[in-house]
Symmetry: C2
Subunit: 312 residues, 2 copies
């Protein structure tokens, strides 16, 4: 039965010219372009931890790849290939087909070829490893923020956390849930930021938590202006107070890019991101020191928690 | 807590010169040598399916990497990097340290750098993706067997299956269990077989089942001589009849290399494998047609099953 599942996946997987050997041998054979570094990231989604058992399989397929593409985006890398390790409680071809609708649909959007993987029996779990390229020296690293940089954010944060908390009703709840279940990896934005941004990270564990990695690794501090935080219509309709800020700053599951860049690059960045139809605003700045201060109209504001932590 | 686990892994992971950025950013940055194809394989081990919850964590760490290195070996690829996706029911630093003893110990033997991964909460599961290189045109594929080729096998098969069946007692049981729990990936043998062998596969689902992939993909048949099948001392001491042959031909979890090569390459292959201290013998031949006939002293022999199948 495993082979039938693998055949089903293989039949539907697209290829690319740089895939010399795809699904079906002991390993895939892939050609990395000369002068480019291979960029590799891996992320796993487990039932009961990252999603509920009744999650729509198409949304799950989309998200499993999206969270991985988001990591490549945060490096400024161009995605190329992925592998898929699926643990399934049983063989359910109908479920698999719907899962592949989401997974391979997003893969096609970004010309990503599925080149290998395995299917095993076990509690539902989806492990994805993505591979991409970035020219040597152009990767957007966490340790490259400089004092005086602007701090930028694509899109807006908080919707996924609000959805997870069950906030809102009707259209508002649906809009929030869409952000939770079908995040948009900012791949084109990441590419546009090569040679324009300094440091970057994708916001998966909460804006402040992820910013903390940039600050720690770069040896700098930051200030964020609460009034500058971008907010979706749905989230704005729901709350304009502390709950909203908590979700925006400490929520997680956003998959937006948080990045720093020189003030002199403002016009270039705005134009490059507009060309990819990616909304982005400056939300603060990099300063000397360590840690992040969040500045509101009434002075410094302290969230009750700093982001999602596993095992707590 | 997740970050403490990751720090623990990062502290212990070795690096290599071609790792431009390892664990700790959104993705790793890796340099693939010019003229070589990237070789990628992924395999997951789940508790209750591939191993018991009480399995020694050091053995488990060894095996999780070994089964992946075995896939690279079967391509004739040189291993370089891996990622590790660990799902853990809770944070247990002592368990993790012992797991890393096995995983990183084997990685060090083969100069493999752990360059990324993630830790998530969930039933114990270990997903590994390995990366290696092979010069274009030199990979050992499943579809390259030719009529008239010799059929070769490294080491011997059947011990792991006998161990899984609880066969033997005392020293014999211990020897069999060692093969099950600490398989030796035939990495050096795979490298030695470049430009010498035609087709290759690693024996993970049972010799006949895996041979079936070579035969199907190459459009050929095969004959195996029962008397030529290599057997370990432990397995020979246990049985000389049908049970032994079942384990040897349909057992699985062996991680030996099964490969085909021209008769004219016999001396070259014997010398090259001897130089890597890898035992290997000819067990049969590739013939026109399809499927495999197993030939014993009393004529054709038919095993009761053809190998391990998931979901059955």
């Amino acid at each position: 039965m495993e082979f039938e599942l693998i055949d089903r996946i293989r039949e539907r997987a697209a290829s690319r010219r740089d895939v010399r050997l795809g699904i079906g041998d002991d390993a895939a054979l892939l050609a990395v372009p000369a002068g480019q570094l291979l960029t590799v990231s891996t992320d796993t989604l487990n039932v009961g931890v990252h999603f509920h058992a009744e999650t729509d399989p198409t949304a799950l397929g989309h998200k499993a790849l999206a969270v991985n593409l988001s990591d490549l985006a945060a490096m400024g890398a161009e995605p190329a290939w992925c592998t898929l390790a699926l643990s399934l409680p049983g063989a359910d071809p109908a479920w698999l087909d719907r899962f592949l609708d989401g997974f391979l649909g997003l893969a096609a959007q970004h010309r990503v070829a599925l080149v290998g993987g395995d299917t095993t029996r076990g509690p539902l779990s989806i492990g994805v490893t993505v591979h991409g390229f970035v020219p040597a020296g152009q990767a957007l690293r966490r340790d490259a923020a400089r004092v005086g940089d602007d701090l930028w954010l694509t899109g807006s944060t908080g919707d996924a956390a609000a959805a997870l908390a069950g906030a809102g009703q009707g259209e508002i709840a649906a809009a929030l849930r869409e952000r939770l279940e079908r995040p948009t990896p900012r791949v084109e934005a990441g590419l546009a930021l090569r040679r324009r941004a300094h440091a970057a990270i994708d916001v998966s564990d909460g804006l402040l938590a992820d910013l903390g990695h940039i600050l720690h690794d770069s040896g700098v501090g930051a200030e964020i202006e609460l009034d500058a935080l971008p907010v979706s219509e749905a989230l704005a309709a729901l709350s304009d107070g502390t709950a909203r800020w908590e979700w925006q700053l400490a929520g997680g599951d956003d998959y937006e890019l948080l990045f720093t860049a020189a003030a002199s690059a403002r016009a270039s960045i705005a134009a490059a991101l507009a060309a990819t139809a990616t909304p982005a605003v400056r939300i603060g700045r990099i300063v000397a020191g360590s840690g992040c201060r969040v500045l509101g109209a009434d002075g410094e504001w302290t969230p009750s928690r700093r982001g999602y932590q596993h095992f707590t």
